[in-house]
Symmetry: C2
Subunit: 345 residues, 2 copies
């Protein structure tokens, strides 16, 4: 009864967390394949999984009827193709975000999911794998701050980090090539777009305006080191800022924040660091009509990967709503498409 | 040699701080006048200044050649008219923000300032009277975080507060009437617009998009309890969110924040409260390439009112650049004009 899965497309270090999450939830990793066997992440996955067979051709994995799920953290532009091939072969798919970077891939995936009765889930890890985000959802959906009128998400990221594989000696070439990663809004803003829809209980949204910029990367003129987008839904507004300007002095990769404004109070998350404040991660602050409260969310249970594995086993839809995956992806591509592009270095 | 000033238009409680600031800087308050003598603020000013003569007609104050400066915190729509009358009479003007709510008033003021060689200063108090903001300006202009690429200003406000005159038993009627206060962006976002231009060293800016909304005030359908605006300048981007949703449980009127992102680091201000954190106000956090630092800004010197009084005496322009006052005002009106209007209660 164990869910058997293969990892196809081992380019982004997010694959480590995806494999760990699925294996931790009881799934079995039975095969590896990737277009670029020389990629640092790919080599590292193989070194960490010496007993898992390598396949030169991913088609052999798609053709294996005992494999139920394909996980991918390929170069973003390849994720859509991998998902399409996997869905066509009747597999479920778990993809790193962004799951797709073009409308064409998104439409093909929607069609295949419907036709084949399969699952296409996107790992919006800044929600699913962040305990304070899960707690914020509990508080919001319990009405603690009234009706949510705005979410504001800040997602600064570190470009290079000597202690971290993905940024070890800089990033791989595809990281700087918009044709392969899809743009900063499609890519990293997808986390915050997901949180906007989720916390405002919005099935769909729209892009009010967006800007992407290259403020300080003259050596990579097409790179986008800054992006922001203003969102709206039937009941609320959203704002997202993402950037690659986390300085080396911050003790983690980014000072991710989420502020949720409701009619009866607000919540602030300091997800990964409380700068010059409390140690650790997952800090939640709430102010309501009665007072203020700090909540240490380190004890919150994360259920995303167990839910995904359960959905694969039981043909359910508990981890994340399928339509949510589509709408976040659509809005990310739309934001990128509508964005004013600035270069200023 | 003492600067003599009159206070005309005593509707908003900001007049208390303006009078205190000017008197504290050595100016002498020599007259009071206001259209609505029954306004709570007006009665309170008169009670606090029993020795300062009241004038039924402000024209008598404008006509007094010994008065150099007119200070006003009238209902916003009236501030332009008061400034125009004062400038025509050869007075300098110090006005609460927003200084104007229409382009017509702004243009007339520009013309008169030039013709008469007078000063028209706007009290952007969330910058001038906030020690952490002054400190942030010092750090930014000393290059601590490299080139600034974005400012993000959050200005939540409390609508009602039992302990505060202005919100004692609710707000006066004009507070809810857009024709008198000019809209939430023209009004309270002017603070953050000023900080955007100042901290990005921008002489001018533009509005990318803006939204104003009435999310939760069905009894006042024209009121705007939420507003946001995305800004751009030649070198940077800006985002401002303002709202009237500060809950009663917060121990102050608003959790005002400013995040300044630079190419080499970032600064966060928690101006009025560090929710569930350090006591007091004016908390500054900085992360740069070398580490993180907390700076308690409570010892920073505020010089705005002394500078204004000095400018009136010496015909200088040290407190704030005249052109900055114009550009902030123009952008506030432009944001309001361009804003998508939502009603959702």
């Amino acid at each position: 009864m164990t869910v058997r899965f293969a990892a196809v497309g081992l380019d982004h270090s997010h694959i480590f967390g995806m494999i760990a999450g699925l294996v931790g939830a009881g799934a079995e990793l039975v095969g590896l394949a990737s277009d670029d066997p020389e990629a640092a992440v790919c080599k590292s996955v193989r070194a960490m999984q010496p007993d898992v067979p390598w396949f030169d051709d991913a088609a052999d994995l798609y053709a294996d009827p005992t494999i139920q799920l394909i996980a991918t953290a390929a170069v973003p532009i390849r994720r859509g193709e991998i998902a399409i091939a996997a869905l066509e072969a009747g597999k479920d798919v778990l993809t790193d975000k962004p799951g797709v970077v073009t409308y064409e891939h998104l439409d093909a995936i929607k069609k295949l999911v419907a036709e084949k009765g399969r699952i296409w889930d996107v790992v919006f890890s800044e929600r699913f794998e962040v305990k304070s985000a899960i707690k914020a959802g509990e508080l919001v959906h319990a009405g603690r701050i009234g009706r949510v009128v705005q979410t504001l998400g800040l997602g600064p990221h570190r470009e290079r980090d000597k202690d971290h594989l993905a940024g070890g000696s800089g990033r791989p070439d595809w990281f700087y090539d918009i044709s392969t990663y899809g743009g900063i809004l499609t890519d990293i803003a997808s986390h915050q777009i997901s949180q906007f829809l989720w916390l405002t209980d919005s099935a769909s949204g729209d892009v009010v305006s967006a800007t992407v910029a290259n403020f300080n990367h003259p050596d990579h003129p097409d790179f986008q080191d800054f992006g922001d987008v203003t969102l709206s839904s039937a009941t609320a507004q959203g704002y997202v800022r993402v950037d690659w300007f986390t300085p080396q002095g911050l003790p983690t990769w980014g000072d991710g924040r989420l502020v949720i404004v409701g009619t009866e109070g607000y919540i602030e998350l300091r997800k990964y660091v409380d700068i010059e404040g409390r140690p650790g991660t997952n800090h939640l602050f709430v102010a309501d009509q009665n007072g203020t409260e700090y909540i240490d969310c380190s004890g919150v249970e994360l259920t995303f990967f167990p839910d995904v594995v359960g959905d694969v086993e039981n043909r359910t839809n508990t981890a994340v709503d399928q339509e949510h995956n589509y709408e976040v992806s659509r809005l990310g591509i739309l934001a990128q498409e509508k964005a004013t592009v600035r270069k200023l270095y």
